[in-house]
C-alpha cells in the first residue's frame, strides 16, 4: 500500500494512519492532502496516529509541513492520539511540532477543529 485513504466528512478531512509510515508514504500523504484540501475547500484536517508505534523525525517534519501547507490553503490541522512512548521519543529527539495543534482523541480533535474554524 502506498496511499493512505483520506475521508471527507463535512468540512473536515479525516486521515487515520493504520500502517507503519515509511518516507514515501508520508510524502504521498502530504501531496494527496494538499490536493484534497484545495479540491474540497475543507476547513480542517484531522490526522489520527493512535495506531502508530513509531514516528521518526522525517514523519514529524512532514506532519509539520502538512499543517503549514493546509494553513496556507485556509485549513487547520490537528494531530490526535499520539501514544505516550511516541511523545517521549519525539521530545528526546528535540522535535517540537511547532504550529501543529494536538488533541487526545478524534472526538476532542473534532471539537478543537470546529472551535478553530468558528474563531
Amino acid at each position: 500500500m502506498d496511499r493512505i485513504p483520506i475521508l471527507h466528512v463535512g468540512a473536515l478531512l479525516l486521515v487515520t494512519i493504520q500502517v507503519d509510515m515509511h518516507d514515501q508514504l508520508a510524502t504521498n500523504l502530504q501531496e494527496d492532502l494538499t490536493l484534497r484540501v484545495s479540491e474540497t475547500h475543507a476547513k480542517g484536517v484531522l490526522i489520527d496516529i493512535s495506531a502508530l508505534d513509531i514516528v521518526d523525525s522525517y514523519i514529524a517534519r512532514v506532519v509539520g509541513n502538512i499543517a503549514q501547507m493546509s494553513r496556507i490553503l485556509d485549513a487547520h490541522t490537528v494531530l490526535v492520539g499520539m501514544r505516550p512512548p511516541v511523545a517521549m521519543t519525539l521530545v528526546e529527539m528535540g522535535v517540537s511540532l511547532d504550529g501543529v495543534s494536538t488533541a487526545l482523541n478524534v472526538d476532542k480533535g473534532i471539537l478543537l477543529l470546529n472551535k478553530k474554524i468558528d474563531d
Partner: protein, 291 residues
C-alpha cells in the same frame, strides 16, 4: 590451583566431629562475645551443629581449599541462611564472620593433638585456616548483598511512591512532585503522566512542584520536556507551586520555563483548569456560606 589437603586431615575431622562441636559451642558461649540478647543458646548450637556437619562432609568429599567448587554449594547455602538470619537479628558483619573464625581455636587444638610432627601441624593449620577464612569472608559478602538488595528495593519503592498521578476532576490530572528532579526521575514522572493522560483521556495535567527543593536549569529543562511531551499528545500542562524564593533563583539563573502556564498554588491551577474546561464553582446555597 587449589592446594590438596593431606588425606589424614578429613579423617581426623570425621572422627572427632562430636568433640569439635562441643568445644566450639562451649568456646563461643564463654568467649564473652556471645550475644545472648540476640540469639538463643539452642539456636546457636543448632547452627554450629549444621555448620560442623556440613564442613566435615564437604571436606571429606573434596579435600582441598577451593570452596567455590560445587561440593561446597550446600555450605554456601547454609552460610547465606545464617548470615541473613544474623543480619536480621542485628548482628554486625564482623560478629557474623567471627562466628566462622571462632571455629579455628577448637579446630587448631584438635589438629595439634592429632598430628605427630610440627611440620604436619603447620601445614594442616595453614590449609584449614585458608578454608575458614574464605568461608568467613563469604558471610561478609552475603551481608553486603543483603544490604544492597534492601537498598535497591527501597530505591524502587521511592521511585514509585514519589510520582503518583491523581485524578483531581474529570479531565484534570494532578502530579505532585516531591524531591529533586533528576533525569531518571523525570523519565519515570513523564512515563506515568503520559500513560495516565492516555488512559483517562484528560485534557489538563497540573504538575505541582511545591516539594521540589531547587529548580535549576536542568530541572527546568526536564519540566519543559515533560510539558512538551504532554502537549504532543494533545494535553495541556500547568506548573504550580513555584515558591517565591524559587522564582527569584530561577530569574537570577536565567532559567526560563518557555510559554508553559505557571500558577503559584495548586488551587490557582485548579481554578485555571476549571475555567479552561468552562466549569464554574458556585456555593449551593447562601445559608452555607461562612459555616
Amino acid at each position: 590451583m587449589p592446594e590438596t589437603i593431606d588425606k589424614v586431615l578429613h579423617l581426623i575431622l570425621e572422627k572427632h566431629q562430636e568433640q569439635l562441636l562441643e568445644k566450639w559451642v562451649a568456646s563461643q558461649l564463654h568467649s564473652g562475645e556471645f550475644r545472648s540478647d540476640l540469639v538463643r543458646e539452642d539456636e546457636l548450637r543448632e547452627q554450629c551443629a549444621s555448620f560442623v556437619a556440613l564442613f566435615v562432609k564437604c571436606f571429606s568429599q573434596k579435600p582441598d581449599t577451593d570452596v567455590t567448587d560445587d561440593v561446597w554449594a550446600p555450605m554456601a547455602a547454609l552460610l547465606t541462611d545464617i548470615a541473613k538470619r544474623r543480619t536480621n537479628q542485628g548482628f554486625t558483619p564482623s560478629e557474623t564472620a567471627t562466628f566462622v573464625f571462632s571455629l579455628k581455636r577448637p579446630l587448631f587444638h584438635l589438629i595439634k593433638e592429632q598430628s605427630q610432627t610440627d611440620a604436619q601441624v603447620t601445614e594442616r593449620l595453614w590449609e584449614i585456616s585458608l578454608v575458614l577464612d574464605k568461608l568467613g569472608l563469604f558471610t561478609t559478602e552475603v551481608y553486603l548483598a543483603t544490604r544492597e538488595d534492601v537498598i535497591a528495593r527501597q530505591r524502587e519503592e521511592m521511585f514509585e511512591l514519589s510520582c503518583p498521578v491523581v485524578q483531581l476532576w474529570e479531565g484534570v490530572l494532578g502530579l505532585p512532585i516531591i524531591g529533586t528532579l533528576d533525569s531518571k526521575r523525570t523519565q519515570v514522572v513523564m512515563e506515568s503522566l503520559l500513560e495516565s493522560l492516555s488512559s483517562t483521556q484528560s485534557d489538563i495535567a497540573i504538575i505541582d512542584i511545591t516539594g521540589v527543593p531547587v529548580v535549576d536549569t536542568l530541572t527546568a529543562q526536564h519540566l519543559i520536556r515533560t510539558v512538551s511531551a504532554a502537549q504532543l499528545m494533545g494535553a495541556r500542562c500547568i506548573i504550580s507551586g513555584i515558591r517565591p524564593q524559587i522564582a527569584q533563583t530561577m530569574v537570577h539563573l536565567g532559567v526560563s520555563l518557555g510559554d508553559v502556564v505557571t500558577k503559584s498554588t495548586m488551587a490557582a491551577a485548579i481554578k485555571y483548569a476549571f475555567e479552561f474546561q468552562g466549569l464554574e464553582v458556585n456555593a449551593k446555597d447562601n445559608k452555607y456560606i461562612g459555616r
